[in-house]
Amino acid sequence: MIEKKSKLDFYPYFLLAPSLIFILVIVAWPLIETFRLSLTDARLGGESYVGFENYQELLEKKKFHRVITRTFFWMFLSVGLKILLGLAGATLLNAKVPGRALFRVLVMPPWVIPIAIGCIGWLWLYNSHFGLLSGIAQRIGLIDGPFGFLAYKKPAFYSAIVTDVWVGTPMVTIFFLAAMQGVSRDLYEAAWVDGAGRWHRFRRITIPQIMPVIVTMSLLSMIWTFNSFEIIWILTEGGPRGATTTLIVDTYKTAIGNWKFGEGAARAVIIVALLGIFSFFYYSLIKKLNKFEERK
């Protein structure tokens, strides 16, 4: 065997060291500092210790509670759509039809370009007077006059969701596609021989076989979507009237917009805490489901 623990005490750490040091300096230290800042009233001019005051203020404000619920709603809706669209897209791209190589490449652009640029494109699409969506809707008679997608609270929220889904779907699609291509053909053939139709094969073979990927992509996607900042910021900056203000937008506005570093840090810590708790529950749930599956 290769691993003889007594001889290899330092070797693994030696391999890990560069990455670890990097992370510790660039991430862990700012994280600790963020936590420390959250206990102060740090602003542009200076700071002083205030204990848990920032947290108390936040947890008392109803507005903040709404920000939290809104963030979770945002996350679940957007990720749900991404997973569904990802599955649909992957299935379509997995089909052995002519042209599939081209189609697969065409799916990539939203993933490849800087998010900021894609969002500007959507900003234009959503423009009430000069945008394509409003224009076409008017032409085909769907609406009477121009419509401001980003001007009203609910439409702005859902428009932001659409853009967020657009940004995240390609990556999910490609990973699902790869996973699907890794499923052994024999399984399908056996089922086909037994007379199983496409839908049946999809439901009983494809999905279970790629389930690990679905689970992991879902979690990754949930974490990224929870913290999705640029999309909302470029489209609406959290408006109108806070309708698209998620936790990360609120944090940015507080820390960079209002230069209130202490209060911003408190929000950042809450984000980390919430995500940590959420991931923990998510994994426990998955473990329980797996055990259940195994027993079946």
Partner: protein
């Protein structure tokens, strides 16, 4: 089993068409905008085509923002550096997690995963101070270092399965033959994991390209070092925004990445398959 009925073919192609329309719509709009002359940029009701479309914006943009070429180059440079640095750091780490057993293994692996949980946006101010202390503000490093840090966890996590797939027997045989550890890593493991390396490299590159914006606007004030997304701000003037040129610049800036991508896409999908992302 693989033959599709006519109906199924129609459904598949329509499905793909709808899917791709959704994906490519903003690019279509950006392209259209780049063709419109500035004073007709804003015209309602919406028109798909008009007589005064031209490629003029593609010429003028180089004058309006003189450093545009530099910005595009910066984007590529920064992403490449991030990718290079990240790969150097994660290859040994991923190998360690894939092959070796050591105390605190699970803890560190979870910790790396945990870093995914917050983006740079959350840590901006302290990160700013760290970079300032290290004297790295307003340099290329100001954008490269945070990029690397946030890509390391995903990179390790994506690369690990590829190392795990390599048969242990090969390593054991080499060990028996007296191969040193480094030799093993360099001569045996790496060549066998090339598909994985390419896949992860591309994913890291894309990730780096996508996240530069935030780090660039916060940690770098030197115009000459700015990557493209930040540079696009320069199309915003005192009272007006030259949208058509901005769109043209955005599209042109994205082209190099698309080319790299087109070139490597064969390996990408093949690599993803070989990697057995079922973990």
């Amino acid at each position: 089993m693989d033959k599709y009925s006519k109906v199924e073919l129609v459904l598949i192609y329509s499905g793909i068409a709808i899917f791709l329309t959704f994906i490519l719509l903003p690019f279509f709009e950006m392209f259209m905008t780049s063709l419109r002359p500035l004073d007709h940029l804003f015209r309602a009701p919406y028109q798909f085509w008009s007589d005064d479309f031209s490629f003029e914006a593609y010429h003028k943009m180089w004058e309006t923002v003189p450093l545009l070429g530099r910005y595009i180059w910066n984007s590529i440079y920064i992403s490449s550096m991030v990718t290079l640095l990240t790969m150097i750091l994660i290859i040994p780490a991923a190998y360690a997690f894939a092959r070796l057993d050591f105390p605190l293994k699970n803890a560190t692996l979870s910790m790396f995963l945990g870093v995914n949980m917050f983006t740079g946006a959350v840590l901006l101010i302290p990160l700013y101070r760290v970079l300032r202390t290290l004297g790295l503000l307003n340099t290329y490093w100001a954008m490269i270092i945070p990029g690397v840090a946030f890509l390391i966890p995903t990179g390790i996590w994506l690369l690990k399965p590829y190392f795990e797939k390599i048969p242990r027997e090969l390593e054991e045989a080499a060990f028996v033959d007296g191969a040193g550890r480094l030799y093993m890593l360099g001569r045996i493991i790496l060549p066998l994991s090339i598909p994985g390396l390419i896949v992860v490299g591309v994913a890291v590159f894309i990730g780096a390209y996508a996240q530069q914006f935030l780090f660039a606007i916060t940690f770098n004030q030197t115009r000459e070092y700015q990557p493209l997304p930040a540079g696009l701000y320069e199309f915003i003037g005192y009272q007006t925004v030259t949208w058509n040129e901005m769109m043209a610049a955005a599209l042109v800036g994205v082209l190099p990445v698309m080319f790299v991508f087109l070139f490597l896409q064969k390996y990408l999908v093949a690599g993803l398959t070989a990697g057995a992302v079922k973990d």
